[in-house]
Symmetry: C2
Subunit: 349 residues, 2 copies
């Protein structure tokens, strides 16, 4: 039975991969945002099946994943690999709204790629909806309002990405390796989930390298920005994606070349009133200057945007700014739950 947008507590909600870093946060967001859950079903691998997850919706025993069992839900969140999603998402979506966090379907013409505050209407009538890459989702929260206001000619981004992008294992590896180094046990930390040791290092390499010398993570920002913002296929966006030793908030420096003359105060006011954005921009406060940081953005739904200034590179036709957002929330779980809320609003759920 589908939820009516004006009723509560009558959707069967499935989460596949709920024991991973993103899946856990999906359950947390459903709880904290009072999503109208009648019954929560959690699906996992043989390793986690049978274990019990305590939730606001009751104790839920993890079921071994099964395509037809997942298809019994009204809405199903996939917090799994792209390969897993490719194998199962279309089939489940025949009878259930599927919100997929992987990159498997993001570039399919019939699958909307959605950040609800930006292009929520694209969900309407769709049973398979893709959640954007975390870096894109966090960056666009600041970029999109400014692009709409001042017009966009070009976007350049450099990222400061947290270990959580590699899941719980990534965060665990950073912590364990950091202790190895600070205790003097090892000069260079062990590594397995990252291509090189991450503690006290930066690694300009996330996801696979493409033929053009960019990584797939970097090209996701290019491809997804164009799709979400309804830009032409050759709209110039470039990104350098860099892993740094932080836990779960991504930061980004963003430069926007604009069509129209910029006005910093107008830009700041616009950001301050944009949903999903927290303007954190008081650099002249010498006692305690304010700007986005992982320390303050972690665990928050809103993406922090600050350091807004007229670009020294593009003059009156450019803005530069800095964002910091929780990778597991806006970058994954929260966005997915907001997509489901959009489906409720649209009457599809």
């Amino acid at each position: 039975m589908r939820v009516q947008s004006n009723t509560h507590l009558d959707a069967v909600v499935g989460v596949v991969g709920a024991t991973g870093a993103v899946g856990k946060e999906v359950v947390g967001c459903l709880e904290k945002r009072d999503f109208p859950v009648d019954k929560l079903r959690i699906f996992g691998s043989a390793r986690s099946a049978g274990s019990v997850v305590k939730t606001k919706f009751g104790d839920v025993e993890v079921e071994l994943f099964d395509q037809s069992a997942a298809a019994e839900c009204d809405v199903c969140f996939l917090a799994v690999s792209g390969d897993f999603a490719l194998e199962h998402a279309r089939a489940i979506s025949k009878s259930c709204i599927v919100i997929d966090n992987s990159s498997a379907f993001r570039y399919e013409p019939d699958v909307p790629l959605v950040i609800p505050e930006i292009n929520g209407k694209a969900c309407k009538g769709k049973n398979l909806i893709a959640n954007p890459n975390c870096t894109t989702a966090i960056g666009l929260m600041g970029l999109s309002p400014l692009m709409k206001k001042f017009g966009a000619k070009r976007v350049l981004m450099s990222t400061y990405q947290a270990s959580s992008g590699a899941g719980q294992e990534g965060m665990d590896e950073l912590k364990a390796g950091t202790i190895q180094v600070t205790s003097g046990e090892k000069e260079v930390a062990d590594h397995k989930h990252f291509a090189h040791p991450l503690p006290f290092n930066v690694i300009p390499h996330i996801d696979k390298f493409q033929e053009n010398g960019y990584t797939k993570e970097e090209m996701k920002v290019t491809w997804e920005t164009r799709k979400i913002c309804d830009m032409p296929d050759d709209f110039p966006v470039s990104c350098t994606a860099v892993r740094i030793p932080t836990f779960r908030a991504h930061s980004e420096t963003i430069v926007l070349e604009t069509e129209q003359k910029v006005d910093v105060k107008v830009a700041q006011d616009l950001l301050a009133s944009s949903p999903g954005v927290k303007l954190v921009d008081d650099v002249q406060n010498t006692e305690s200057p304010q700007y986005p940081m992982p320390l303050t953005a972690t665990g928050q739904y809103d993406v922090e945007v600050g350091r807004v200034r007229r670009s020294e590179a593009f003059g009156d036709y450019g803005l530069e700014f800095f964002v910091s957002g929780d990778q597991l929330l806006r970058g994954a779980a929260l966005n997915a739950v907001l997509v489901a809320e959009e489906c409720v609003k649209n009457g599809d759920l």
Copy 2:
């Protein structure tokens, strides 16, 4: 007595501030590069005066700094604050070549700002020479050859700067704070030298904020790039300078908009043959992909440059790349000692 360029061991060399992070490295570079030191004199504050520094040139007792004593040297390295340099550098330089690591004189028209591999000739006949900001020095090692080859229309930079930029105290604060967090003693680390806690955080704030919303650190990159590369005063360069939890190598993402069509292979070959540069750029090596990182750049004289690619933002007229260089070496001490070597070559010392 001045050193002849073809003789050895007859210069009296002074280092002011030799007990700080940069000063220690100046002594190390003089030792490792066999600089023709006849006598090494080390000057410090009342706190360090009287202590003995063991060097390859003998045990040196730290002298209490005195302007006229420093002026007795043939060449004197200042590894001190801008205020200290402002007070003493001009006076000392009347009878001694002064190489100042602070920002005090970098924009004075009569003081050359020198990276020897780029504009070494500017030292000629000068008795006061400024050492560039660490971020600029590291970035220009990669940028300058490419700007010369392909022409430059615009430069954009985002930095990943180590705690050593705040001296030994900065590095100590990062280590102590990291242990506080990983041991569970504190959820958020103590901080004093940085505006906010640095462990597992990033801070988009280095040096003071200017009226235009950029920090002084960021504007140094703009101003110094123009001066060192002999660019016009309105040549567009912008930077976002970000402190991250690493110890002593700075990394930077750099985007260069060019005048001429770029060729990635030509750019890589050029970098591979540029003095002071180590091309580290094998991203298609799936076993062990190679790119610049603090882990490998730390303690090295050469700046690592890699991830060289045609820009997705500027197409055929843009290059993007990543650099990593030791902040205390190329970013400070090594560059200063290379300047002194240039003075020897020029016959000024």
